[in-house]
């Protein structure tokens, strides 16, 4: 029986908690991508860099706060800096919309043109970020590192395996729940949120109903910038901040949005967790679990991994391809928010 608990603890510690954390980060990212797709009708390749930009501003403000010895122990100071990060990112996003996307929107450009334009924006933002903060790793986490330490867990339960919960993991999961709940409340219960859904559903009819498209577009960018900043900061807190990493995050984020049904917020969230857990389940080393649950005499030489962790990124790519072949509209049949 103890073996079963040990096995469960290993699963919890190395699969479930990291999966929920990573899934929450992807879900928040995919929610932003899906909003842009639903309202503005294009795939925003600059979303990864928007996350990085928001995180960067948050980091700069965090350093300022740290220098001024302002903190909110035991929580990381970055949480205090996020609002500033959001505001600056909103301003940048709105400026980019004003000077780049609006031109093409007025011309009713093809979505492919928007997509390519967004790649341009991606490179611009990437350059801006590296110009300001440099390409290197930045660690900006402070506060209490662990809520539950593996050693304490072992002492508490008497098990051989430890379960730890890092502060960043708890913060990520809780923040994601709050943000997602707030987002759904906004979309389903406020006039502005409903007008966004209406615009996404039927642009012409929304116009006939007196819904101002400029306002819908502006609110969408504000939400997207806020979501991106939060997602980017949470990811940076949990792992570390490295500009190039956010570009690589684009693939799992798009995979999440598409798996769930692009344009569908509920789908984006489900997709985030599907992608996160798929990556972890396929690259997890099952050796310990099998040793605990298998017969006493069993000996294993390998780690019993389905895929090496190097192939992590391939998992989201494979899922993406499978979904696009079998059910291109995704699990929740997307298209409108």
């Amino acid at each position: 029986m103890v073996d079963v608990f040990n096995a469960l603890t290993v699963l919890g510690n190395f699969l479930i908690i990291p999966g929920l954390t990573y899934g929450s980060q992807l879900a928040l990212g995919a929610l932003g991508v899906t909003l842009v797709y639903g309202v503005l009708r294009f795939s925003n390749f600059a979303h990864g860099e928007t996350m990085a930009f928001g995180a960067m501003i948050t980091i700069l403000v965090t350093w300022g706060l740290q220098a001024a010895s302002i903190s909110i122990q035991p929580l990381p100071t970055a949480l205090l800096a996020i609002p500033v990060g959001i505001v600056v990112t909103v301003v940048l996003t709105l400026l980019i919309d004003r000077f780049v996307y609006r031109y093409h929107r007025d011309r009713k450009a093809n979505p492919v043109i928007f997509l390519i334009v967004s790649i341009g924006v991606m490179f611009f933002m990437g350059g801006l970020i590296r110009f300001i903060i440099g390409p290197g790793d930045q660690i900006f986490f402070d506060g209490t590192r662990f809520i539950l330490k593996a050693r304490e867990f072992k002492q508490m339960t008497g098990l051989d395996e430890g379960l730890s919960l890092r502060m960043t993991q708890a913060v990520t999961i809780i923040t994601a729940i709050i943000i997602v709940a707030a987002m759904f409340w906004f979309l389903n219960h406020t006039r502005t949120g409903k007008s966004m859904r209406a615009y996404s559903d039927n642009e012409n009819l929304a116009l006939l109903s007196g819904i101002n498209p400029d306002r819908v577009v502006m609110i969408t960018w504000i939400l997207v910038a806020a979501l991106a900043t939060i997602a980017g900061t949470l990811y940076g807190l949990d792992k570390s901040f490295k500009p190039f990493v956010y570009m690589q995050l684009l693939l799992p984020i798009f995979a999440s949005a598409i798996v769930g049904g692009v344009g569908n917020p509920l789908g984006a969230i489900a997709g985030g967790y599907v992608i996160a857990f798929s990556e972890l389940i396929l690259t997890f080393a099952y050796k310990k679990i099998i040793l605990y649950l298998g017969p006493e005499t069993l000996e294993l030489d390998s780690l019993v991994q389905i895929l090496g962790t190097d192939y992590k990124i391939a998992v989201s790519f494979i899922i993406l391809v499978i979904v696009l072949i079998i059910k291109p509209t995704g699990l929740f049949s997307g298209k409108t928010i």
Binding site: D201, L205, T336
Partner: protein
Amino acid sequence: MSFLLGEHMTGGYGAADILHDCSIGVEKGEIAVIVGPNGAGKSTAMKAVFGMLPLRKGRIVFDGSDVTALKPEERVVKGMGFVPQTHNVFTSMTVEENLEMGAFIRTDSISDSISQVYDLFPILKEKRKQPAGELSGGQRQQVAVGRALMTHPKVLMLDEPTAGVSPIVMDELFDRIIEIARLDVAILMVEQNAKQALEIADKGYVLVQGRNRFTDTGEALLANPEVRKAFLGG
């Protein structure tokens, strides 16, 4: 001068004109119907009145003021309601949300208007929590008309409201349209079912190739042998 009048409208989407000196008008509490063969520019004429077609010549006068330069959404604020032929509901939103969106420009309480629409179309009350995309064709048309009524328009423009619905549903929709007209709303509609539409019309416009061919009361047009022969199938 009519309550709503499109005068000498000439224009089209590209280089070629679709409408040629076409005039259409409707009074308060009246039903005006535009009929004619396929490609006669019926829907185009209505879109022109609503500002969805660039006009080279002519003007639109509504409630005593010239609205020719206004965008469609600005005309909605002025009191014009428009129900497009297709894609006229928010399919992913519930019936009630559709009605709410119809009243988007209003800042006062809309619950009275919603119950008014439910009185007019009782089935919508039953289905108010259902996404409009899940409703039948006739019910969707009711949602579409209900959505347009939410702003309390002074004129309601309907582009083929009975397209694709059964004859029974068509009769019912026409009954509802008469009821709406009795509320002192001017109704301008384009209809494929010319005979039935002219029966309820106070005024009828027969368009051919973007020009006014016959203009008279509905009754007179139905009695006109030329109109009967050419457009009503005898």
